[in-house]
C-alpha cells in the first residue's frame, strides 16, 4: 500500500490513522488497496471469526463489517429488520444499499446466531451478483467428525474463492498467510499485555480503535502499525489514576459506541480486557505454518486452540470459570457484562456467567446497549457506583 510508512508513526499518528479508518464508512482504504491490487478481490465478513488466512492466501483482502454505529442514519435498514432485532444488521444493510460496500466482491457470514445467518439470505436476495457465503463452523470438536466437516467447509470456501479470484491457493501461500496471522496475534498479545499492565498509557478507546482498524487493513499493514505502536506507546507519559480494573464482556458482535467505552473509563474503570474484537484473538496459540497440509493446520487450530465464545457449544459451561480465571490473571476487580440488546448468544450466557462470578466472589454488574446509543448517563452512574463500591469497601 502507498500509505505512509507505519513504522515512522508516533503514538498520536497511529491512533489518528486508526480512527480515520474506523470512521471512514466509504472504506477508502479498501479502494486504495484495490487500486494497488487491481485483479484482487475484497471479501467482507461479519463477526466474529473467519479463517482470514484463507482469504489472504487467495490474494484477497478480508474486511470485517462491524456495523456503522451512530455514524449513519438508518433509513432503509429499518425496513429490513423488525424493532426487536439487534442493531448491527440495520447499519450493515444500510451500508450495502447506500453503495458504501460497492468495492466488496463478496461477503462471508459466520455461524454465530440466527440473525447473522438469515442476513446471509438477505444479502443473497439484495446482492445477487456477488459471492455470498454462510460459513458453518462445527459444534462437534472431534477431529474425525467435526474436523472432517470443517475441512469440507474450508475446501468448499477455497474452491469458491479461487474461482472468484481466478488464482490458486497453494500450500506455500497458505503457510505464508498463516505465518503472517500468527505474527499478528503475537503483536496483539504484546499490546494487550502492555495495556493490561499500563492501562493509563493507552485509553480503552485508543486500544479499541487500533484493533477495529486491524479488521479493515491488510495483515501486512496492520502488523507494521502494531510494531510501531508497541514502540511508541512506551513513550506515552500519563499518570496512573485511582481506578478499578474491569473486564468487559458480551460485546463480541455489535460494537458499543466509542462514547460508551469512554464513559466506562471516565467513570473510574480501567478496561483491562474486553471482547470487542474477539475474532482477532480467536486462536490461543500459533497455527503451525510449516506443514504440508496447512488446511489441516487451520482445522486443528479451530478444534483445539480456539477460544470458547457464546457462539460455540459449551455444555460444561467452562466459559464462566475461564472468565474468572481471566479476572484473576489480570488482577481485575470486577466484570462488566455489556451486551447488545436482543443479542441471544450473549444474553443467554449472561445468567450462568453471573452465577460463575458469584461462585468466584467476583463483583459484576450488567447493562445492555445498542450500537447507536447516544445517552450514557445511566451507564456512567452504574459504572461509577460499581467503581466506588469496590474502591471504598473491598
Amino acid at each position: 500500500m502507498d500509505y505512509p510508512a507505519f513504522k515512522q508513526f508516533d503514538y498520536s499518528q497511529s491512533i489518528a490513522f486508526a480512527r480515520g479508518l474506523v470512521d471512514d464508512l466509504n472504506f477508502s482504504y479498501v479502494s486504495r488497496w484495490k487500486k494497488a491490487n487491481p485483479s484482487a478481490r475484497v471479501i467482507g465478513f461479519l463477526p466474529i471469526y473467519i479463517p482470514r488466512e484463507i482469504i489472504h492466501a487467495a490474494g484477497m483482502l478480508p474486511v470485517g463489517l462491524f456495523g456503522a454505529g451512530d455514524r449513519i442514519p438508518v433509513v432503509r435498514g429499518d425496513a429490513f429488520f423488525q424493532s426487536y432485532i439487534c442493531h448491527l444488521p440495520r447499519t450493515v444493510v444500510e451500508l450495502l444499499l447506500n453503495g458504501n460496500l460497492d468495492e466488496f466482491d463478496g461477503f462471508i457470514f459466520p455461524s454465530i446466531c440466527d440473525v447473522i445467518r438469515n442476513m446471509s439470505g438477505i444479502f443473497m436476495l439484495q446482492s445477487k451478483n456477488r459471492y455470498i457465503r454462510y460459513l458453518d463452523f462445527p459444534q462437534n470438536f472431534d477431529e474425525q467428525i467435526g474436523g472432517v466437516f470443517y475441512r469440507s467447509e474450508l475446501e468448499r470456501l477455497m474452491e469458491d474463492l479461487q474461482k472468484l479470484n481466478n488464482s490458486g491457493i497453494d500450500t506455500q501461500r497458505l503457510n505464508i498467510s498463516i505465518d503472517l496471522y500468527n505474527k499478528n496475534r503475537k503483536l496483539l498479545k504484546h499490546l494487550q499485555d502492555f495495556r493490561a499492565a499500563h492501562p493509563h498509557k493507552m485509553s480503552a478507546v485508543d486500544y479499541y480503535l487500533i484493533r477495529r482498524a486491524g479488521n479493515i487493513m491488510s495483515v501486512e499493514d496492520f502488523n507494521d502499525l502494531l510494531e510501531s505502536l508497541l514502540e511508541s506507546v512506551k513513550n506515552v507519559e500519563a499518570d496512573e489514576e485511582d481506578k478499578i480494573r474491569v473486564v468487559v464482556t458480551g460485546s463480541f458482535c455489535e460494537q458499543p459506541p466509542l462514547g460508551l467505552i469512554k464513559t466506562i473509563e471516565n467513570a473510574g474503570c480501567y478496561i483491562v480486557d474486553d471482547d470487542f474484537q474477539l475474532g482477532l484473538g480467536w486462536m490461543k496459540k500459533d497455527t503451525p505454518s510449516d506443514t504440508s497440509d496447512p488446511v489441516n493446520a487451520l482445522v486443528q487450530a479451530y478444534l483445539q486452540d480456539s477460544i470458547r465464545s457464546s457462539a460455540v457449544y459449551d455444555s460444561e459451561n467452562e466459559k464462566g470459570d475461564q472468565l474468572a480465571e481471566k479476572v484473576k490473571h489480570l488482577n481485575a476487580d470486577g466484570v462488566i457484562f455489556c451486551a447488545p440488546s436482543f443479542c441471544d448468544p450473549a444474553l443467554l450466557d449472561r445468567p450462568h456467567l453471573e452465577r460463575a462470578m458469584d461462585r468466584h466472589h467476583i463483583r459484576h454488574f450488567s447493562f445492555q446497549y445498542h450500537e447507536n446509543l447516544g445517552q450514557f448517563h445511566v451507564i456512567k452512574e452504574q459504572a461509577g457506583t460499581f467503581a466506588d463500591m469496590i474502591k471504598l469497601w473491598e
Binding site: A79, F80, F81, Q82, Y84, I85, P89, S111, I112, C113, D114, V115, R117, N118, M119, S120, G121, I122, M124, L125, Q126, R133, Y134, L135, D136, P138, Q139, N140, D142, Q144, I145, G146, V148, F149, S152, E153, R156, S310, A311, Y313, D314, S315, E316, N317, A339, S341, F342, C343, D344, P345, L347, L348, D349, R350, P351, H352, E354, R355, Q368
Partner: protein, 425 residues
C-alpha cells in the same frame, strides 16, 4: 359424522394423556427421559431405545395456552434472563424453577439425557447449555445440523450428521437407556413414520380444495401437527392420521370448511398462507379474528419446522442414519431465505391463496430475521396482497389485540378490494 370428527380429537387427547401419565410414572417404570426439540427431532430413535421424549417448546406453548407463561417468564427474568431473549426459553426455565409441572398438572420428570438437536435455531444450543446447568447429572448429546446455506444439502454435511449420530448420539442413548442400539427396531419405526408422513401430506394437501377442509395454521398446530412430532414411528400415530384423513376427506366430499372453536367455518372468504409461529397466550382470540372474517389458512410454515414432507421426503428404513440426517437438514428454519421464499410461493400458488401474512414473533429471530424481505419478494413475484402483524410466542406482554385487529382489518379490506380487480382481469 360429528362423532367421526371427534374420533381423532378424542384419540389425540387420549394419546397425550397417556404420554404424560407415562412420564409421571418413570420413577416406577424406570423408563428414561429425553428432552429434545421439535425441529430435527429424533423421535424414532428415542422410541427405539424405549425412552420417552419431552419437548420443552411444547411445554412452553402449553403453559402459554394455560395462562401460566406470564409467571414463568417473570420467574426466569428474576433469575437474570433478559426481557429480550426467547420467551420459550424463559417460560421453560421458569416452569422448571417452579417445580416443573407439565400441561396435565403432573410433574414432569427431569431429563436423563438432553438431546440437543441444534436444527435451524441457534437459541436451542443456548437453551440446553442453560438446562445442563440446572440438571448437572443429565447426559447431554449435541447433534449439530448444518444449515442449508447453499440451498441444498451438501454431501459433507450428511456425513457429518451421520457421524454424530453414530458416534455421539447413539452411544449416549445406549449409556443412558442401558440398551444396545437395535437397527431393526429403528428401521421398523422409520417405516411407520413414512406411512404417517404419507397421510400427513394428504391432510395438508387437502387445502387445495375450495372450501379448504382444514385450517393449516391454527388447526395445523392444534390437531394436525402435535401427534406427528410426539408419536412419529408408532402404530398409533399412523392410526391417528388415518382417522384424521378420513374426517378431512368427508369434509371435502361434503364441501365443509375446517372446524374452529365455534364450529365449522361456513363461509370461506379469504384463503391465506402464513409465515411464522402463532401466538399461544391468546390462541383462541387470535384464531377468532380470522375465522370471524371467514379467513382460512391454506398453508403455513410453522407446521413445517418439525419437517417438510410436501416435496417427497420420507423417513426411510434403507439407510436410517442418512434419512435422519436429511430429515433434520430439511426442516423449515434450516433452509436459507431463498428456499423459504420458494416454498411459500409453492404454497400460495398450489393452494390458491388470496393473500400472504407474516406473524412476526418477537422471540424468534430464527423465523423473524429476514421476513420483511421475504414478504416484499413474494409481493413482487406474485402480486399478492401481503399483511404483517407482530406478536410473541408465550409472552403475553407482546400481544396487543387492538394493534393486531387494526392491521388485520386493513389487510382484509385490501384483500376485498383486490378481489373484483382480479375477477375483472
Amino acid at each position: 359424522m360429528d362423532v367421526q370428527k371427534e374420533n381423532s380429537m378424542v384419540k389425540q387427547k387420549q394419546m397425550l394423556a397417556e404420554h404424560f401419565m407415562e412420564l409421571s410414572q418413570v420413577r416406577e417404570t424406570g423408563k428414561k427421559v429425553a428432552y429434545t426439540f421439535v425441529p430435527g427431532n429424533l423421535t424414532e430413535l428415542i422410541y427405539a431405545f424405549d425412552m420417552l421424549p419431552v419437548y420443552p417448546e411444547i411445554n412452553s406453548l402449553q403453559s402459554g395456552m394455560r395462562q401460566k407463561s406470564r409467571d414463568y417468564i417473570r420467574e426466569a427474568e428474576e433469575a437474570g434472563y433478559s426481557e429480550d431473549v426467547c420467551s420459550y426459553v424463559k417460560c421453560d426455565i421458569g416452569m422448571m424453577l417452579q417445580g416443573n409441572i407439565g400441561p396435565t398438572g403432573q410433574q414432569l420428570p427431569p431429563p436423563d439425557i438432553l438431546l440437543l438437536s441444534y436444527t435451524g435455531c441457534f437459541v436451542f444450543m443456548k437453551w440446553f447449555e442453560n438446562l445442563k446447568q440446572f440438571y448437572p447429572d443429565a447426559e447431554i448429546a449435541m447433534l449439530h445440523i448444518p444449515y442449508q446455506e447453499s440451498g441444498k444439502i451438501e454431501a459433507g454435511a450428511i456425513e457429518y450428521v451421520k457421524q454424530q449420530l453414530r458416534n455421539e448420539v447413539i452411544p449416549k442413548f445406549e449409556k443412558v437407556s442401558g440398551k444396545k442400539f437395535d437397527a431393526d427396531k429403528l428401521a421398523e419405526k422409520m417405516d411407520l413414520s413414512a406411512s404417517a408422513e404419507d397421510l400427513l401430506v394428504e391432510v395438508f394437501d387437502s387445502a387445495r380444495h375450495k372450501p379448504s377442509p382444514i385450517d393449516a395454521y391454527f388447526g395445523g398446530v392444534y390437531y394436525i401437527g402435535p401427534i406427528f412430532t410426539a408419536f412419529r414411528g408408532s402404530e398409533s400415530c399412523v392410526e391417528y392420521y388415518r382417522e384424521l384423513l378420513n374426517e378431512v376427506n368427508y369434509r371435502v366430499e361434503k364441501k365443509l370448511g375446517p372446524i374452529t372453536p365455534d364450529g365449522i367455518l361456513e363461509n370461506e372468504r379469504f384463503r391465506l398462507v402464513v409465515e411464522g409461529p402463532p401466538n399461544w397466550t391468546h390462541f383462541r382470540n387470535f384464531w377468532q379474528i380470522f375465522y370471524e372474517m371467514g379467513a382460512v389458512f391454506v398453508g403455513s410454515t410453522y407446521t413445517r419446522v418439525g419437517g417438510i414432507y410436501d416435496e417427497g421426503f420420507r423417513h426411510s428404513s434403507q439407510d436410517p442414519l442418512r434419512s435422519m440426517a436429511e430429515y433434520c437438514m430439511g426442516c423449515y428454519t434450516n433452509r436459507n431465505l431463498p428456499q423459504r421464499i420458494d416454498l411459500l410461493e409453492t404454497f400460495i400458488t398450489r393452494y390458491h391463496a388470496d393473500g400472504f401474512l407474516v406473524n412476526s414473533i418477537k422471540s424468534c429471530n430464527s423465523f423473524s430475521a429476514g421476513q420483511l424481505v421475504m414478504m416484499r419478494e413474494l409481493e413482487e413475484r406474485l402480486e399478492i396482497p401481503v399483511g404483517f402483524i407482530e406478536t410473541d410466542l408465550v409472552d403475553p406482554r407482546y400481544y396487543s389485540y387492538s394493534n393486531i385487529k387494526n392491521r388485520l382489518d386493513s389487510f382484509f379490506q385490501m384483500l376485498d378490494q383486490r378481489r373484483p380487480v382480479k375477477s375483472a382481469g
